[in-house]
Symmetry: C2
Subunit: 235 residues, 2 copies
Amino acid sequence: MSTKGSVKGLPKAKAEVIAPKRGRPARKETATNKEQQQKILDAAEKEFAKYGFNGTSIQQIADRAELPKANIHYYFASKEKLYLALFDNIIHLWNDHLDEVRVDDDPAEVLARFIRKKVELSYSHPLSSKLFAMEIIQGAPHIRKYIKSEMRTWVRNKAAVIEEWIRKKRMKAVDPVHLIFLIWSSTQHYADFDTQVLTIMNRAEYEREMIDEISDFLCEIILTGCGLKVPAKPR
Amino acid sequence: MSTKGSVKGLPKAKAEVIAPKRGRPARKETATNKEQQQKILDAAEKEFAKYGFNGTSIQQIADRAELPKANIHYYFASKEKLYLALFDNIIHLWNDHLDEVRVDDDPAEVLARFIRKKVELSYSHPLSSKLFAMEIIQGAPHIRKYIKSEMRTWVRNKAAVIEEWIRKKRMKAVDPVHLIFLIWSSTQHYADFDTQVLTIMNRAEYEREMIDEISDFLCEIILTGCGLKVPAKPR
DNA sequence: CAAAAGCCTGATCAAGTGGTCAGGAATTAT
DNA sequence: ATAATTCCTGACCACTTGATCAGGCTTTTG
């Protein structure tokens, strides 16, 4: 997804914003500094992913991070800046793989790798997925621009490649954009709806075994549905 | 899904709760009464679907319904009661169809009908879908019981039928539970993530044509993936 | 008609909201 | 050592939160 320009950069420290000494950077990235910021970001991700932007209070985040509320505001000028800082990571994470797809590549290989990678991400970064889902459901008020530009471009590029595959009869003629939506939805579902999935399957949490099972299942259905043979699992 | 017992019944009127005259019911279902309640429920659905339980204030709902805040509390004792009242409708709506599925039915017919129905619901009741999604993402704090009991039973029953189809070689051997998850996720995606979908497809809103397109696409991929032939569209 | 029941709402409450700020503590630079 | 900078936080502010309630209004009942 190659997100060069971040949604909104990590906020500069307050002091710098208020009284920026020109020339040398006013705030160094000290160890404590980074550490504290990460602590806040981690706590914020958990809370925002659970209650959305409006539903989360800074006090909640402060409690979770075990810091006084005012300290949050020292590092992040406003609730919104903190929220947006989280999306920097998420957007980078999201589709950075698959960027290098080419028309010459094998459709089955590419799609299988894509599906497995997305399932893996749902497993390794469920909070990011939930946070993103929340934001979209609410109408993407904070990242609308990103969807309209980078994300749309990304989808169109991938769709063009898939269309080329179809033209060359390397796979069945299916709508490429909906295919991308299908892979997104079916994979992210396991992160966003983990409560429902785990409850119905009577599990406490995901395990490696189950993740592989899910990947295999989705590859099987989707690739077959595209008229492709599922490639042997790598490794 | 046959939800006989509602999650929590529509709240009785305050007066009745506080001073229940025994014998005859204290509050009749007058026209105004029902009308007002529906107005509140509609407004509440819109707001809760957008901001979740914690993120929505009663004032917001009151503004949207064009009623004074205190009037909301007249009909619904608490924010939670109002919230739960919404899930009565949703849960009834959700999977009431497909209840009558039998082992003798044609797998392709049943799955195709299921997919089309779910896409249709995403189109006709996007707010219900979003509200449900929000609740699940947040860990289903208010409807956990329902998922653990009725919903789990429902899934198991349907999965048993699918397994029987597989045993009889009427379709490919795929995990029935994951198949249900796949249909849920891929169809609901178009309601929950409508902002993303529409933005990327450069549309203002869904139209009949596009809904049919989506249904056809999902039927094609999923049924083929299950080793089934897509049945001719009814009508 | 009058009495009763149901309907409605402005005013009010304690608790919580995002955000500010003065000033002290800790660290770093000179 | 001393000065400068950065880090931290308790106290505070105006505003919003969910909820209550007294009292007036309207409709139904007898």
